[in-house]
Amino acid sequence: MDKVGLVLGIIVVAIIAVFAAINVSYALDLIFFIAFYAIASLSLNLEYGYTGLSNFGKVGFIAVGAYIAGVLSAAFNVPFPLCVLAAAVAAAAVGAFVGIPTVKLREDYLGMATIIIGEMIRILLRNTPTNSVWGGVFGLRGIKPPFAFIKDPLARQFAYVGLSVFLFGLVYWLIERWGNSPLGRVLKAIRDDELAAKSVGKFTYRYKLLSLTLGSAIAGIAGALYAFYFLYLNPDTFIPLITFMIWVMVIIGGMANNAGVVLGTAIVILINRITQIAKDYIKLPLEPNYFQAMLVGLLIILFLMFRPQGLVPEKPVNTPSWEVLEKAEEEGRAKPPGGEEQ
């Protein structure tokens, strides 16, 4: 990783350490949020950063995962791991269903279609009878905590946050592997020029559909983790603002760079937290929540103007192929054609 990323990463860890020294539970909560959002932003990175699919309905897929996991646990006593699995499968199914007609759309139209789908999911959950199994506008209660057998609340929280971080690690590993393989090249090729990708034989529709489906499955896992952390779900939690925050994380962090996206996630969440704390101490001439939104908006504008590649820029796809190139260069085969300057 390059210097900017490394320095900011150290700062992030240091800030979390300071919070941990003051209040362990608060720091654990912070870590959970970073892990939850990082899983979501990594899934968007797969879809947009690598494949160029502008999914503006991310929150809808998180909601599907959260509600499937929540309902299975609350109403049917399904154990936690199965709930997470079901959340991933259900969100993937919704992703595929949405993707079949929409991934052919141009980037901007896909954005419009998905933002509507995200809202439709929330409105559907909200405007169903309150006696339905997910509780309609009243929300869903009674989700069983997976670590109920641990009596000490702090230890229980620690166990759950630890599990969430572990799942985040798995997702990170998987997307990093996808990205640094011949597959990563194909996805980026589709993103850069779909017609050219087709012209070199890539079945782009299939790749785009799979990318959206798998990205949705990962968002579903994030949703399930959310459900089992709060043990209560309300449709109005899943508003488009969540999607926009995830986009900000990806843009700031660096598209098609997973480490950068995780860093971007941590930074956005820390900015949110720190401004939340600061508003108790600083008097502002305007509503602090608006100020927070303005701050994030300013951040996007500054990044798009001055550092569009994000904090940690995209790197070439890392496969063993580079060793072959290196060897050829050492053998002196990579000479520019004679007589021409290059």
Binding site: P182, D193, A197, V200, G201, P316, W322, V324
Partner: protein
């Protein structure tokens, strides 16, 4: 190539292809045939329908009527990716790079049959490493041949236009094509390099037996290399013959002088 396994003398046959965009008739019943193993040129003034014909052959557009037969297979209406796997590869008039990727990655991406390109197998390097290394060797060889190995690490958006043309050609060669459709392979490069490119294409054509159909405006250079020429005008083939015949053909002279 398995050139003897097919009975036809022609690698590509375009039969009465028509294509209109609204009120504009872009292709008005085009007929042409490319001999197996030949280097055939397609010329004509701007707007005569050459690139549209390429797009129809390569599957970007579906023709309104007519047929495209490639290597004995009716490929009319096939999508571009399927046509590529059948062995027919095209390049673009304006090079289309995977611009945020390096030249090396651009070329590697075009390889066929890499098992690491699946979501299921790509996380497990063991499965695809050996094939990936072979593909990389091939990519290095092709880039060396085309004299773009020294820019392999550059972003493909940060090389010269002529080099981009060569990257497109390198991508095309990665799949061991049966036939290449080349849309102005030497546009925007100096005459020396243009001769070099055509000389190289001629070698490929002779040594590897790759058939070629080439759109080119620089007839002075083109005619030194090709076997046969088709001339298009207003969506139709109006003349055909050897370069010598074409140069002397009054219809062709008329079209070109009339345009000027």
């Amino acid at each position: 190539m398995n050139s003897n396994s097919r009975n036809s003398n022609y690698i590509l046959e375009v039969i009465d292809v028509r294509k209109r965009f609204g009120g504009i008739i872009a292709l008005d019943g085009v007929n042409l045939k490319v001999k197996r193993g030949s280097m055939t040129a397609l010329i004509g003034p701007n707007g005569s329908g050459k690139t549209t014909l390429f797009n129809v052959i390569a599957g970007v557009y579906k023709p309104d009527s007519g047929k495209v037969i490639f290597d004995g297979t009716d490929i009319t209406g096939w999508p571009p990716e399927k046509i590529y796997h059948r062995g027919l590869v095209r390049t673009f008039q304006v090079p289309r790079m995977f611009k945020a990727m390096t030249v090396f990655e651009n070329v590697l991406t075009a390889a066929k049959g890499n098992p690491g390109e699946r979501f299921s197998t790509s996380p497990l390097r063991k499965i695809w490493k050996a094939i990936e290394l072979k593909i990389a060797e091939k990519a290095v060889d092709i880039m060396e041949l085309l004299k773009i190995l020294h820019v392999a690490r550059n972003l493909s958006s940060a090389i010269s236009g002529g080099q981009m043309k060569l990257v497109e050609l390198a991508r095309g060669l990665m799949s061991d094509p049966i036939m290449l459709l080349l849309d102005e392979p030497a546009a925007g490069v100096n005459p020396t390099l243009a001769h070099e490119i055509f000389g190289f294409l001629r070698n490929l054509n002779k040594e590897q037996g790759i058939s070629m159909l080439i759109i080119e405006h620089r007839l002075d250079i083109l005619f030194d290399y090709v076997d046969y020429v088709y001339v298009m005008h207003r969506g139709k083939v109006v003349a055909e013959g050897t370069p010598k015949e074409i140069v002397e053909n009054p219809v062709v002279v008329d079209i070109y002088l009339g345009e000027a």
